[in-house]
């Protein structure tokens, strides 16, 4: 029984690491800042949560603190990516490529 739980936890950890690798690969390969934000933060959040779940399968007595870490990740991680995207949009550092329309600036009436 314990052996089976170890193998299931290991498979979950490999899946989580695969999602982390996919997120980092999207961070390298995507052409634009906004594409990079949407590729990197979602995939890495899912990857870290799967890794924590796998560790909770291998060591069941650690589950409470791993759950706490997961809850903190779910609180803070989308918030930081949203603040970063808003700062990049408002500061005007990141230009859209030619031929694309900035719908957010049209909606909110900003100048950027």
């Amino acid at each position: 029984m314990g052996e089976l739980l170890d193998v299931v936890g290991g498979l979950l950890m490999v899946a989580g690491s695969g999602f982390l690798l996919l997120g980092a690969l999207g961070l390298v390969r995507m052409p634009d800042l906004y594409n990079r934000i949407q590729a990197a933060t979602k995939a890495t959040t899912l990857g870290t949560l799967l890794t924590l779940l796998g560790v909770a399968f291998i060591r069941p007595e650690w589950a409470l603190k791993l759950l706490l870490i997961g809850i903190f990740l779910l609180f803070t991680n989308p918030l930081s990516s949203q603040v970063l995207a808003r700062a990049a949009h408002r500061s005007g550092l990141v230009r859209l490529p030619a031929g694309q329309v900035d719908r957010l600036a049209e909606d909110t009436g900003e100048k950027s």
């Binding site: 052996e3 170890d6 193998v7 936890g9 290991g10 498979l11 950890m13 490999v14 989580g16 690491s17 695969g18 982390l20 690798l21 997120g23 980092a24 690969l25 961070l27 390298v28 800042l33 990079r36 934000i37 990197a40 933060t41 890495t44 959040t45 990857g47 870290t48 890794t51 924590l52 796998g54 560790v55 291998i58 060591r59 007595e61 650690w62 603190k65 791993l66 706490l68 870490i69 903190f72 990740l73 803070t76 991680n77 918030l79 930081s80 990516s81 603040v83 970063l84 808003r86 700062a87 990049a88 408002r90 500061s91 550092l93 990141v94």
Partner: protein
């Protein structure tokens, strides 16, 4: 079997760390570097959990807890600086 799976997962996490570090090294704008910093922190949380699992100590998970709370603060400080200057 489980040991091999854990080693494979750690290797994949190391490759993800290298990719995020490459983006940190040559991001065109500062916002790219801040994003790479965030991803490096999340990958480091996974690495800390691997270290706690290998060492077998429960107390190492507190460091991951502190990481999850404080990377957020750093990113928000830099983002507010980029926005209009803290």
């Amino acid at each position: 079997m489980a040991e091999f799976l854990i080693n494979l997962a750690a290797s994949l996490t190391g490759v993800a760390f290298l990719a995020a570090l490459w983006r940190f090294f040559r991001g065109p704008t500062p916002a790219d570097r801040v994003l790479a910093f965030d991803v490096l922190t999340i990958v480091s949380i996974a690495g800390i959990v691997f270290g706690a699992l290998v060492e077998g100590r429960f107390i190492y998970l507190d460091v991951a807890l502190v990481y999850g709370l404080l990377s957020f603060l750093g990113v928000i400080v830099v983002a507010r600086y980029l926005e209009r200057g803290l």
